[in-house]
């Protein structure tokens, strides 16, 4: 059943006092091509149902790229609503990791009751967003978003009681240094705190640190050129920039914020800094969504809405999704081929470049990070360390981690 969704097979191999890492993917990277021959509006309606894990980010990117290809103006309020919805989805996805995966790796029971609350709130919002005048439709408006504040409030309540153990604003103010962050972890009020404490106590703070650079912010033109080029299929499968794999995701977005920056200075971009990055992103996003503290994430948003010099009938969109930069590109058939209004224009080609392909590139951040682990520890410990690193970078598909 997971064959349709694809999976990642990550294999660790000890040899000569070193650790070799192989990452193989069966992800269905050609999936977006099923929209070729469908109308623009059918594509916008059905694409998020297919890519349903980050359906909001996918829908937002799809709407933006189709609007660009069709030359439709986007209302600034709609742009803002889309961003808020995608950020709420990012919090929901991070809470999955924090409530289900982090406890499991620590040997604790997952917080399924809390995650059920998160999904119930999110599901209600998603149902309302099916409104054909909603912000996730090309040319759409604000319809269906009235549940957003309540959904954010519910996610915030879960985060505060189950993850931070205190109000979000207090967590942000109280963890502004590496020492303060570790003091919060030592209190051990939540599974997330105990997970951080376990890493620190085991001397694993810097494990997985590696030198893969962050994916820099590009204007859409440069990405459009790569995606339109003859090597586009290989680029989508194993993306690089200037010949170098790149990282994109919560760590690259928060690495300049405290306590992440301090932890990087002390330990490199290993396990501890990555744990802090996920927590900090949840806190900052909730604050921005709910309290608007003005704290900022590093992201490409300034570029996202900028017009790209695409030829008519071509669109490209970049969205900061939960796991990193998500890129959509569409080419429409020439006007008249489909006949009638813009929504009936037919799609000639549709491409998606997902963050998992950057981060799980065979020489990317996960491969290099895992290769830096010590092969000298026992199997169970090595697999636990590797599992935590993989979870912190966070693939959007099932994966199998094995040691041979």
């Amino acid at each position: 059943m997971s064959d349709l969704a694809g999976r990642l097979n990550i294999t660790l191999r000890r040899y000569g006092g070193r650790l070799g890492v192989t990452i193989a993917s069966t992800r269905p990277l050609a999936a977006p091509s099923v929209f070729a021959g469908r109308s623009a509006w059918e594509t916008a309606r059905r694409l998020p149902a297919l890519f349903s894990i980050c359906a909001t980010a996918q829908a937002s990117a799809c709407a933006q790229t189709l609007e660009q290809a069709l030359g439709l103006a986007t209302d600034p309020e709609t742009v803002s609503l889309r961003q808020a919805l995608v950020e709420t989805e990012t919090v929901k996805e991070h809470l999955w990791r924090l409530l289900l995966e982090w406890p499991r790796l620590l040997g604790e029971a997952p917080s399924t009751a809390a995650m059920r609350q998160v999904l119930a709130a999110w599901g209600g919002l998603r149902s309302a967003l099916a409104d054909p005048q909603g912000p996730l439709v090309p040319g759409g408006g604000a319809s269906g978003t009235s549940l957003l504040p309540a959904a954010v409030a519910r996610l915030a309540r879960v985060a505060e009681t189950e993850v931070f153990g205190l109000p979000t604003r207090d967590w942000l103010a109280g963890t502004a240094s590496a020492e303060a962050f570790l003091a919060w972890a030592r209190d051990g009020r939540t599974g997330a705190a105990r997970s951080v404490q376990a890493v620190a106590r085991a001397g694993e703070a810097g494990l997985g640190a590696c030198g893969i650079p962050a994916l820099a912010h590009h204007d859409g033109s440069a990405l459009a050129e790569r995606l339109a080029g003859p090597a586009a299929v290989a680029f989508v499968a194993r993306p690089d920039w200037d010949g170098v794999p790149r990282e994109t995701g919560p760590f690259t977005r928060t690495r300049h914020l405290e306590p992440v920056a301090a932890l990087v200075r002390a330990h490199g971009n290993g396990l501890l800094a990555r744990q802090a990055a996920v927590l900090a992103e949840v806190a900052v996003l909730l604050s921005r969504l709910w309290v608007d503290t003005g704290a900022g994430l590093e992201r490409a948003s300034a570029d996202l809405g900028a017009p790209v010099d695409c030829v008519p009938g071509v669109g490209i969109a970049q969205v900061e999704a939960a796991r990193g930069l998500l890129v959509h590109r569409v080419e429409l058939e020439p006007e008249g081929t489909g006949g009638g209004p813009p929504q009936d224009r037919l799609v000639r080609a549709y491409q998606i470049l997902a963050p998992t392909e950057w981060n799980f590139h065979p020489q990317g951040v996960v491969a290099r990070g895992l290769a830096s682990l010590s092969p000298g520890v026992d199997d169970a410990r090595l697999l636990r360390q590797a599992g935590l690193f993989v979870t912190l970078v966070d693939p959007c598909v099932d994966y199998e981690l094995s040691l041979v």
Partner: protein, 89 residues
């Protein structure tokens, strides 16, 4: 590019809070810990061993039809990353 698969609930184990779901001839046990009010015959979206949400049979049919097209696309298109990485060391 992250797919959750629609599948039909064919049996439930309330004590374990799990269900057996079917997609074609393939069956699988999934956790029901994250969803409420699921019954035999319902369609649910499945991801990494959890049922995520209920969906209507019509929505499930539409998504499965699209996934069948994706599977045919996959047969015709090589995924270079699927051939196995050369690894890092």
């Amino acid at each position: 590019m992250c797919l959750a698969i629609p599948a039909r609930v064919v049996a439930m184990d309330p004590a374990a809070d799990t269900a057996t779901v079917a997609l074609g001839t393939v069956t699988k046990a999934v956790s029901l810990a994250l969803v409420e009010d699921v019954a035999v015959g319902d369609y649910v979206l499945v991801h990494v061993g959890y049922a995520l949400s209920r969906i209507s049979p019509e929505e499930a049919d539409r998504t499965l039809a699209l996934m069948a097209e994706v599977a045919r696309c996959g047969d015709e298109t090589t995924n270079p990353a699927g051939l196995g990485g050369e690894g890092a060391s």
